[in-house]
Amino acid sequence: MTAGAGVKLLTEDGRRLDGRALNELRRCRIEAGVLKNADGSAYIELGRNKIIVAVYGPREVHPRHEALPDRMLLRCRYSMLPFSVAEERKSPAPTRREVEISKVIREALEPAIFLEEFPRTSVDVYIEVIEADGSTRVASITAAAVALADAGIPMRDLVAGVSIGKIEGKLAVDLSGIEDQHGEGDMPIAMMPRLGEVTLMQADGRFTREEVAQALRMAREAILKLYEEQKRALKERYSKVLAAELGEEQ
């Protein structure tokens, strides 16, 4: 992210390039249970972002010496497919960016999981970005929480995330790729929606203390909307599963 010399991100009536208001999320659609092999899975489209998440576990830890005596081992791998980026093909080897994001996503999900309930097991969360258009890490978290629930992992709450950006001096919800590239700052935030606790928070760019407080409020509001879509997706999934179990066609 570099300061956006010359690229106008807001129209004269205060709308963003894609017509959104500053506090407006892009269209978000989540589907749970999209894969057969995974124990849980979810697919999210947030604007043009397309991300698929699979969850395996709880299962025996492999390699064994990584098992934890008092709790579940959660592992996350966030990766971008080579053709998911707007720029030239990305090498398939994990970048430093992907390594860091995998870590912060794991730490964003852990607060919501009853890790102590399955000691000596692992749960693996695999995230593949098929198409990227800004805010992929938070969209990944939103989908991963649904995939964990789909896998039946006991959780104290879901987790959903949104990025708060700064464009032309104003805070804006859910940065798109071009806003991330030319904006003045990016602050990805994830929360447990019901509990209202922050499980991921990062930032680059420059923000005043007041802007940080405001960003937290804007994030909360957006996250509650994402939470509705998460619940809808899980409800739909459960009704399909139930229908299938009752012998109907799914």
Partner: protein, 278 residues
Amino acid sequence: MSERVYTVVPAPRREAIRSMAKRGERVDGRKPEEFREVKLEVGVAGNADGSARVTLGHTKVIVGVKASLGQPFPDAPNAGVQIVHAELIPLASPIFEPGPPDENDVELARIIDRGLRSAPALKLEDLAVVPGKQVWRVFIDIYPIDHDGNFIDASGLAAMGALLSAKIPKVTAAPDGTIVKAEEKVPLPIADIPVFVTIAKIGDVLVVDPCYEEELVMDARITFALTRDNHVCAIQKGGRGSFTPEEIERALEMALNVAPRLRSALENLRQAGAPQSA
């Protein structure tokens, strides 16, 4: 260099599948020569220049194509470059582990590469912009995302779907060698549309398009890539067993029989696209 540890099928289940095969039956109710239903969607990854998702039973494969200008290979200075990469990511199956490509990833990528190259699918010579200096480098990235057997055939279909749906900028080389990219996008130059058909041997029985359970109990498999005019443009035998020459000829006949149906979805794509150079 070691074998991937496949989930083991319990012996009774194994025997059941093998006896079914002897009676001409299969675990999912298909006939031996029957390919599963194929679903082909294109444009599934908007940042790729071309992309496709193939669903084959529960098997799902995504392929994305990205083209960029770069140097040719020294041994083919007047041709574009085709690079196929495949990654059996752990998202797709509990039997896949994270890490650098192993022999299974490499074999899958190389089979697809050979079939596309020998057909040939891409007219590589039409992808040289400034011969010897600047050519299109076409990356074909294969990512299976759900595994119910026969990744080769699904990957081949998805790769061709992605290539046929791809659009790249029209470029012109000025006399001084500078390259101008137009806004206008053109399809990739396609010469042929190969399809891949895999036949598994279970006991003495040959079956087309094995599902995952069949792969676990099969003796061996053989894949044929077939051109539109019924040439074989790649072969790959796999697995710990062997084939008699007669079985190979029979397998090829089975493959030739199913190829046209597999190719028809791709041909439709092509007709839907912009005028092609071939």
